[in-house]
């Protein structure tokens, strides 16, 4: 019984990792850009929500509604004025610029908020649980997982049902031809990063509600997100969810065997998938 419980908790944890990963997957799918500052942007989102909660006395979920448009604008500007300038055939500039950005963000947060770990204020909801037969499932993990599924459904709808989605797909396939059809790739990229940061904000809310965070935890979130994307296969959002679940289950099962093995077993699961299926479980894009 305890094993079923462990696996279920792992699946729900996978929802959080899928939320971390969805923004990364979106940006990579459209412009082949890997944002090494992704993890630090998640942490920044969590601090933004914390500031809104403390200054305005809002509940965290209301603060999310204010934080999302702020983060969208930030992502839009970041892409338009900084990251677009690094795109091209050479892989070095985007990698090194986003790596630099990661270090800058981390230390800016450290300078502003100190290294103390923080947590978003919790209420009855965060500690509540649902009794399913003999197993107790936390409401917060369930909510996280549901949000991950909703975000992925939403992104898929956006991609295949709207004109913006059509523009995304066209630019992703061939930016030059798309620009002949009246699409401005620079603006499309900026919008995509904006949307990615909206998802980052949702991920940040659950990060802050479920556990403590401090300015240094960004890179580890980037690694989990990256592992979920690779396991799922590039370009597949449902694959990303599956990847997140695999990492989550590997971590909880590892932790059940020996608490020191939690992070390690997540990484090992990733390496095994990489060994057996180098292109991930549900590959779609070719690179």
């Amino acid at each position: 019984m305890i094993w079923i419980d462990t696996v279920l908790q792992g699946i729900l944890l996978g929802g959080l990792y899928a939320l971390f990963a969805a923004g990364l997957s979106l940006v990579f799918g459209i412009m082949r850009l890997v944002n090494l500052a992704h993890g630090d942007l998640i942490v920044m989102g969590a601090y933004l929500i914390l500031v809104l909660v403390t200054l305005l006395g809002l509940p965290p979920f209301a603060a999310l509604l204010i934080a999302m448009p702020v983060m969208f604008c930030l992502g839009w500007g970041l892409q338009k004025f900084l990251l677009n300038r690094t795109l091209g055939d050479d892989i070095l500039p985007p990698l090194l610029v986003t790596f630099g950005l990661s270090v800058v963000l981390q230390n800016a947060l450290l300078e502003t908020f100190s290294a103390d770990s923080q947590r978003l204020p919790t209420d009855a909801l965060t500690t509540a649980s649902l009794q399913v037969g003999p197993i107790a499932l936390g409401v917060m993990p369930l909510l996280t997982f549901a949000s991950a599924v909703l975000v992925i459904v939403g992104l898929n709808q956006l991609f295949y049902r709207t004109s913006l989605g059509r523009a995304f797909r066209a630019t992703s396939d061939d930016a030059v031809t798309a620009s002949l059809m009246g699409i401005r790739p620079a603006n499309i990229f900026a919008t995509a990063t904006g949307i990615a940061l909206v998802i980052v904000t949702i991920a940040a809310l659950y990060l802050g509600l479920r556990a403590n965070f401090d300015p240094n935890i960004g890179p580890a979130r980037l690694i989990y997100a990256f592992e979920a994307v690779i396991i799922g296969g590039l370009g597949s959002l449902w694959g990303t969810l599956a990847g997140g679940i695999i990492i989550g289950v590997a971590q909880t099962v590892g932790a059940a065997v020996n608490p020191e093995w939690q992070i390690l077993s997540g990484h090992i699961a990733f390496l095994i998938v990489l060994l057996v299926r180098p292109r991930g479980l549900f590959p779609r894009a070719n690179d």
Partner: protein, 351 residues
């Protein structure tokens, strides 16, 4: 008419002479410099070695790794393991550091080469994390909290008593001087070795692979073999540097030895600011890095922040770094690798 292919330039001949003088001064440094200077120079030289090897990997091999700390840490822990468990002297144990890094590098390359570009970068990072977490389980070497080199081992280290007598210094200072000389040796061997590699046929193949993989393959360059050679070489050098750094520190912990900031972020910034894809770049970069550190060290995170901003600006405004700016303006090459044709028919026609 005879013609000749030359690689040397007037500037490089002057540079060779100047370098010879500089090397003599550096060798003699412990005879007239204080302990603080020796320690600073040790830091500069070891960072230079790490930067040269990362530059070989990313600048020449096109392999952007964020996992070099795996090799620093593996090298350092191999040295501590050899000294503590087998009682080997720390100085020869540095060689084992290189071997350990190579042993880690083979499976790392096997996994990481399945990923391309940016995913290669994060893949190497994941593997470095795995190595760190595994080493933290190694209880005989202190587990997660780390351990120190035994006092007897550092006291009776090779050459230390020799240096004590020759220079009339205390044992601790003699250890710093020994570490400095070893770092100097490693740095000279690194720069010399990389320069030699780039001037051979292999170096030409490497440049071809970096510039265009498909074109290089079509003229018969084995691209994947070049990737392996570059990756293993830089792992070996990084491991040796890691062993040496922790021989001098004499105290280790997994978080410090596998620190992504200390052993990869700084190194990337040094190479990018100085000029990626050149031998001169990391040398300029490490001097800028050290100057900034001396100026801003008291400001903690502001220091890292300004380093990051500087690297971003350099990457956007001058992607070839400070040395690229300088050499672009002046045509200066201290370590020329371009082959230039002189003499022959063309000269006759001109006459």
């Amino acid at each position: 008419m005879s013609y000749s292919v030359s690689v040397q330039t007037p500037a490089s001949r002057v540079a060779t002479a100047a370098a010879a003088v500089l090397i003599l001064v550096l060798i003699a440094l412990p005879f007239f410099a204080g302990r603080g200077t020796i320690r600073d120079m040790f830091f500069i030289l070891t960072m230079l070695v790490l930067a040269q090897f990362w530059n070989l990997l990313a600048g020449y091999g096109g392999l952007v790794s964020i996992g070099q700390q795996a090799f620093v840490g593996a090298g350092a822990y191999a040295l501590f393991g050899a000294v503590i468990l087998w009682g080997i002297d720390p100085v020869p144990a540095i060689l084992l550091s290189g071997v350990a890094a190579l042993v880690i590098a083979v499976p790392t390359a096997f996994f990481a080469f399945r990923l391309n570009g940016a995913y290669f970068a994060i893949g190497t990072w994941v593997i470095a994390e795995v190595v760190r977490l595994l080493v933290a389980q190694w209880k005989t070497l202190g587990g997660g909290t780390g351990t120190s080199l035994p006092r007897e081992a550092t006291r009776d280290m090779w050459f230390v008593s020799l240096i004590e007598d020759a220079l009339g210094v205390r044992s601790a200072a003699a250890r710093d001087i020994l570490a400095y000389w070893l770092a100097l040796l490693l740095a000279l061997a690194t720069i010399g070795g990389i320069y030699w590699l780039l001037r051979t046929r292999r170096g030409l193949a490497l440049a071809a692979v970096r510039d265009n993989v498909e074109a290089a393959k079509s003229v018969g360059v084995d691209a994947s073999r070049m990737k392996w050679i570059v990756f293993l070489t830089s792992a070996l050098g990084t491991g040796l540097a890691g062993g040496l750094i922790y021989m001098q520190k004499a105290r280790i912990s997994p978080d410090a030895a596998f620190s992504v900031t200390d052993w990869t972020a700084y190194v990337i910034f040094i190479v990018v600011i100085g000029g990626i894809g050149t031998i001169e770049g990391p040398i300029i970069g490490v001097l800028v890095f050290f100057a900034l550190q001396s100026l801003l060290a008291d400001f903690g995170s502001w220091y890292l922040m300004s380093l990051g901003v500087l690297a971003i600006v350099v990457m956007l405004v001058a992607p070839r770094g400070l040395w690229g700016l300088l050499s672009g303006r002046t045509g200066l090459h201290l370590f020329p690798i371009r082959r230039r044709l002189s003499g022959g028919q063309l000269t006759q026609a001109e006459e």
